[in-house]
Amino acid sequence: MEVKVLGPGCPNCEKTMNVVMDAIRESGIMANVTKVTDYAEIAKMGVLSTPGVVVDGQVKCAGKVPTKEEVISWLKGE
């Protein structure tokens, strides 16, 4: 499973990263997390407001810090 956290490095992006890591740890799902800071990459995925979370190529959220429960549900593919 590929998880991408999109954000140029603002405080909210850091928070999102932590939430995602927590969610992965808690759910026990194996996932590869990468941080995308390049604006061109972010824009290509169609995200206009950071932070964003992309799971297996699908944009799950943009413009807000997700909750741990939300991230877990994306990981489980719900």
Binding site: P8, G46, T50
Partner: protein
Amino acid sequence: MENLECACASEQKLKRENPKSKFFYWFWGLVLLGIWTLLYKSLLPFSQWFAFSLLALKPGSHLGEAVQFFVYDTPKVILLLTLVVFLVGIVRSYFSPERTRKILAGKRESVGNVLAALLGIVTPFCSCSAVPLFIGFVTAGIPLGVTFSFLISAPMVNEIALVLLYGLLGWKIAALYLFTGLFVAIVAGFVIGRLNLEHYIEDWVLKIRTDANVVTEDKKSFEQRIEYALQSVKDIVGKVWIYIVIGIAVGAGIHGYVPEDFMASIMGKSSWWSVPLAVIIGVPMYSNAAGIVPVVEALLGKGAALGTVLAFMMSVIALSLPEMLILRKVLKKRLIIVFASIVAMGILLVGYIFNLVI
């Protein structure tokens, strides 16, 4: 939450989905609104009691007036802000930059400029995502000028500025600010569009192709919208309250101690150079609306002209060095300079018009 369980239990049969939630939110919404109104109504007597009875300061004395102003205005503005940020949060939960882009894509320029400026008010936007937003708009085929209309209006015409202006200076000035802010955003964007500056966008940006329809819209439930609004209250009020306190403290100091009409000579109507000077000082300054409005209010009270002060405020909020540095990643220097000058000229115009009319 606990004490509501019993109130709901009897009604549970009536509701199928989310048995508690809707009632829960409406109930607490009304209770909180009641408390809010009570608090708001009692602020003035409280501030007078606090300054003149408890601290035994003399009404009319410098210190007494400054303390009363501070004790009255700080909670008043924070209360107003909380309510408005919540309501705006509900409205914003219906909008997203992705959705705004979809609306703007394929609109003609003039209509697009107006629409972009209006959407700038309600679209949730933070200047830290100015760059992905810019790329996303331009690469989806939204004209450069329309994109700029949005980028100018989004930070400048915002609920914080309007609430503060309303709370401290009354609805007329708040309305003036709203309309002139939109005017500057629309006209500046339109002019930038006419100048055909597309080749001053960094080349790599134009190579990206994005589709305005990619992002899936998430449907929010009633509860989620409330949560969203509450979260934005937490974020925004949590972030700006300190600026409001500092701003009002500075304002209170000016109120109590700077002599009446002191500002008239520097920022008054009579001096033609006061408006450009205000803009020149304002552009490199970086403050959000929360910090600047209380100062603006105090300046006005000391005889500064409305147009000059509005120009100052707009240039502080709308044009900031950090934002331009961020935009430098996608725009060539010349376009940034053109953008800043056109917006500055629009603001100058607003300043002069107000000084002339009022």
